[in-house]
């Protein structure tokens, strides 16, 4: 179970990333954030975001038309 869940459904680029960044900032190091999004572009974007920022993408999966990402706040 993630420490926090962010509903970014219905939001388009770059809002899911911006909202996730804001939520991660409020999490302690080691905390986890689960993001729910419907923007298909978010799949590649969260991979790139995590590679660039050093946060860890623990999980990326689709459930129907919802994309679910689990990110560990490491940086």
């Amino acid at each position: 179970m993630a420490d926090q869940v962010l509903d970014a459904k219905g939001l388009n680029c770059p809002l899911p990333i911006l909202r996730a960044k804001k939520a991660l900032k409020e999490l302690p190091t080691g905390g986890t954030l689960e993001i729910h999004a419907t923007d298909p572009g978010a799949v590649k974007d969260f991979e790139a975001f995590c590679r660039s920022t050093g946060n860890e993408l623990l999980e990326s999966r689709a459930e129907g038309s919802t994309y679910i990402f689990l990110i560990k706040h490491t940086n």
Partner: protein, 164 residues
């Protein structure tokens, strides 16, 4: 500003002030800031209008043959002869704003606010302020006034420099 000495940086020159052209610089600036980059935006010529407190951004279909608006399952392009008629730009702007809302795209006002919150540095071109007789009090708080040298100083230190 990030305190990380390894932080990357990006600068953007923003020269266009229509609703459609306002998106790329603000999307890239906010995203780069979210990814830990130090970002500076230099607003000049028509781009300077994007710093006005009250935004009333418009698009024009005139001279824009690549612009196709989705409509009833098809795409509609506008011949120049029709684009030039009074009211057509207003109609196209209304359609675009509806699409933006419907598709969950942020408004320029929101993205600008997020950029300010993320400590994106903004420089308003002093020469353009004088040229178009803009008043400082008509612009949002935050941007500093500067010229080409101010931009070049930032650009020489930036990893990414974009002109939009």
């Amino acid at each position: 500003m990030s305190t990380d000495t390894n932080a990357k940086s990006m600068s953007l020159i923003v020269t266009k002030g229509t609703l459609d052209w306002a998106y790329p610089p603000f999307i890239l600036a906010t995203t780069a800031a979210a990814m830990g980059l130090d970002v500076t935006m230099f607003f000049t010529f028509y781009g300077l209008g994007l710093l006005k407190k009250d935004l009333n951004l418009k698009i024009s279909t005139l001279g824009n043959p690549a612009m196709e608006m989705p409509m009833m399952g098809m795409h509609m392009a506008m011949p120049n002869l029709i684009s030039a008629l009074p009211g057509v730009d207003g109609m196209a702007t209304g359609m675009m704003k509806n699409l933006i809302k419907k598709k969950g795209v942020a408004s320029i006002e929101d993205l600008r606010e997020l950029a300010v919150e993320a400590d994106v540095q903004m420089i308003a071109c002093q020469m353009t302020m004088d040229l178009f007789e803009y008043k400082r009090e008509d612009m949002i708080d935050g941007p500093t006034l500067g010229g080409a040298a101010s931009y070049i100083e930032v650009a020489t230190k930036s990893d990414i420099n974009l002109y939009i």
